[in-house]
């Protein structure tokens, strides 16, 4: 019997599921190996048991916690898909004060039905077996993780920084443009796509394991930057690491 996989989403932009949809021909090949049994955005079908659940988005309300727990009970393996599911992503950018202020401005009310909880990454609610980082995820990394799971191997993520991929591709260094780049401490696997696009690394894939901070401090010093400036940038996608 084919492995039964499902896609689910909570608070997020559905861009990670879309990245899976965009695998095109690879998607056709995947469909020879697995059966997609649930994918609300594209399917009306529902099932009771799944082998692998891929889940996008953060958890913000009690009914979402309940739905996530049900998915966990139905699934053998649960994979967090993308930054919002892995650590909260940009959902956490708004401080609680700013949200309360905005709610009062828009609705002139703090009524109970207008309240949401602080967005949570999935692992704060259920056991997450694996995570695929990024905002959005990288399609080929999704394929690699799925392949490993189908072969019953542990999926592994790159243990080096985006800076390495960037140097290998010989892209110009963002620091030379006077920009703050998070490439030296962010986990590789995106092929430095933002730097190729003329942007800097904004750290959407989270910190690499054991980041080498000493050389990074030296880069910062050379460019007259402070640790605080880096942290401010890092918080765009990674405030969730602090909660």
């Amino acid at each position: 019997m084919k492995t039964r996989i499902g896609f689910f989403d909570f608070t997020g932009c559905e861009g990670c599921q879309l990245t899976v949809m965009n695998l095109d021909n690879d998607l056709l090949k995947i469909l020879q190996l697995v059966e997609v049994v649930e994918f609300r955005e594209l399917m009306s079908e529902e099932v009771t048991k799944l082998d692998i659940a891929f889940i996008e988005g953060s958890i913000t309300r009690q009914q979402d916690r309940d739905r996530l727990q049900t998915i966990r009970e139905r699934s053998r393996i649960l994979v967090a898909l993308g930054a919002c599911a892995e650590n909260g992503g940009v959902n956490l950018l708004a401080s609680e004060k700013a949200v309360a202020e905005l709610r009062r401005t828009i609705y002139a009310s703090d009524a109970a039905h207008l309240l949401t909880d602080k967005p949570l990454p999935l692992h704060k609610v259920v056991t997450v077996d694996y995570s695929i980082p990024g905002c959005p995820i990288d399609g080929s990394e999704f394929l690699a993780v799925l392949q490993a799971l189908l072969l019953e191997r542990e999926p592994d993520l790159p243990q080096f920084a985006v800076c390495v991929e960037c140097k290998l591709a010989e892209f110009p260094c963002s620091f030379d443009f006077g920009e703050i780049c998070l490439g030296p401490v962010t986990r590789a696997g995106c092929h430095a796509i933002c730097i190729e696009g003329g942007d800097r690394c904004r750290g959407c894939r989270g910190l690499v394991d054991n980041p080498r901070t000493t050389p990074y401090h030296r880069i910062l010093e050379e460019h007259g930057l402070t640790v605080q400036e880096i942290l401010d940038q890092y918080r765009t996608f990674n405030i969730g690491d602090e909660i």
Binding site: C13, E14, G15, L93, H113, C135, P136, I193, G197, G198
Partner: protein, 431 residues
């Protein structure tokens, strides 16, 4: 006998919503489209951020419309800060927006809407029996994605877009190859038109004001003026100032209206109001689909989407020709102005008119932001359509009523990730 028809977590749409209909003694008591997508308060997320961070963050409102949000955001910030983008960069932006509309429309037509007319719960059912149809859908989407990759650097959440233009430009060789891929879609487009021309669209008419942008001599995408089927011609800022976003008792989802009442935005509005700017091939396809600018059938939203697919493929080929003739510089090192200001911009997103307006302080930090989303502008019309259609369906079995209503909602292609970027929705508990 009182009965409740409830469709929880409507499928094959972008985002989460329930549809609840209360029937009593064969009559409709009430009908509500309850959007249950969780709110995200994006305006609060942006507050205090530097202008160079706004577009990449606000793109995360929606994966399906990330390019439209990026465009509206960059254009609003450029207006606020007095940055003038290069005219050739504007042409490249137009190509990128075409790519996104193609991505979104093709996904909606084949994966979300077509199953309603083929009588199947999802297109995955066709994987084996109709592999030609399935692979055609993937091939067409591949080409749409390629436009976004070549121009925007990535299919979802672009990376080359920046204030003043683009931080990296496509190579001429990539544009040439892309042009060839676009030309090669023609047989697949023909087969797609044949497929949809065979579908049996329900007969249903409801007149509504149709609103879209007005771009001199072109099919509208990024423009300064708004037109409507009621004869309104206003600047983007003027029109936005007449939009009243309001809260309804059955949910706290905001809806939009003007003093003339509810209105519709999206492909149907664009095709109706800008029919004369459609490409010759797109107009021929309109004939083949038996659709003209006079239609007031909301189910024809699907036909309008397919007509736009044809139009934008053709226009993208011409845009590449124009881009290949002129080279220009990337905007990576463009000097950024000091000081604050206010700016408003509108673009035609796949689902219709999208407004972003910002104000920045003297240090270039965002003070306030306001985004008005196509689906929020359409929600009231979707409900009005359901209320009008429902009495004609009451003799049908519940299952068929549900199918028909779901098809109607899908004809609007609602995008609820977008609509709830700031909304808080009341949940009606199952009783």
């Amino acid at each position: 006998m009182s009965k409740k028809i409830k469709l929880n977590h409507l499928t094959r749409i972008e985002g989460h919503a329930h549809l609840i209909i209360d029937k009593k003694a064969g009559k409709i008591e009430s009908c509500r489209l309850e959007v249950v997508e969780s709110p995200r308060f994006f305006e609060a997320l942006l507050k205090g951020r530097h202008f160079s961070d706004i577009a990449p963050i606000v793109a995360r409102v929606c994966g399906v419309c990330s390019i439209s949000h990026t465009m509206a955001s960059l254009m609003a910030t450029e207006k606020a800060l007095g940055i003038e983008p290069d005219p050739r960069a504007q042409l490249l932006r137009r190509l990128l927006s075409q790519g996104e509309i193609l991505q979104s429309h093709l996904l909606q037509l084949y994966f979300m809407a077509a199953p309603d007319y083929l009588g199947i719960p999802s297109i995955f059912q066709l994987l084996n029996q109709r592999s030609d149809l399935f692979s055609r859908a993937l091939r067409l989407r591949r080409t749409a994605n390629r436009i976004c990759e070549v121009v925007g650097g990535r299919a979802v959440h672009p990376v080359t877009t920046t204030l003043g233009g683009f931080s990296a430009l496509p190579e001429a060789s990539d544009l040439k190859q892309l042009r060839q891929e676009l030309v090669d879609t023609l047989p697949d487009l023909e087969a797609t038109v044949e497929l949809f021309a065979d579908f049996n669209f329900p007969n249903f008419e409801r007149t509504a004001e149709q609103v879209c942008l007005d771009q001199s001599g072109q099919y509208p995408l990024h423009a300064e003026r708004v037109i409507s089927s009621c004869g309104i011609k206003q600047s983007v800022a003027q029109f936005k100032s007449t939009i009243d976003e309001y809260i309804v008792p059955h949910s706290t989802a905001k809806m939009a209206r003007t003093e003339r009442g509810h209105y519709c935005v999206g492909p149907l509005a664009r095709v109706k109001n800008s029919f004369e700017h459609l490409s010759p091939m797109a107009r021929k396809v309109a004939d083949a689909l038996q659709m003209n600018a006079a239609t007031s059938n909301p189910f024809h939203g699907l036909k309008a989407r397919l007509i736009e697919v044809i139009h934008f493929i053709e226009e993208a080929i011409h845009a590449i020709d124009a881009l290949l003739l002129h080279s220009f510089a990337s905007a990576r090192s463009t000097a950024m102005p000091k000081g604050g200001g206010e700016g408003i911009a509108a673009v035609e997103a796949p689902r219709g008119l999208l407004f972003h307006s910002y104000s920045y302080d003297q240090n270039g930090l965002l003070e306030s932001a306001d985004c008005i989303i196509p689906t929020a502008q359409n929600l009231a019309s979707i409900e009005a359509d359901i209320t009008t259609l429902l009495p004609h369906l009451l003799d049908l079995p519940d299952e068929q009523i549900k199918q028909r209503l779901e098809a109607l909602i899908r004809a609007y292609d609602p995008c609820l990730s977008c609509a709830t970027h700031q909304l808080q929705i009341a949940i009606k508990e199952e009783s």
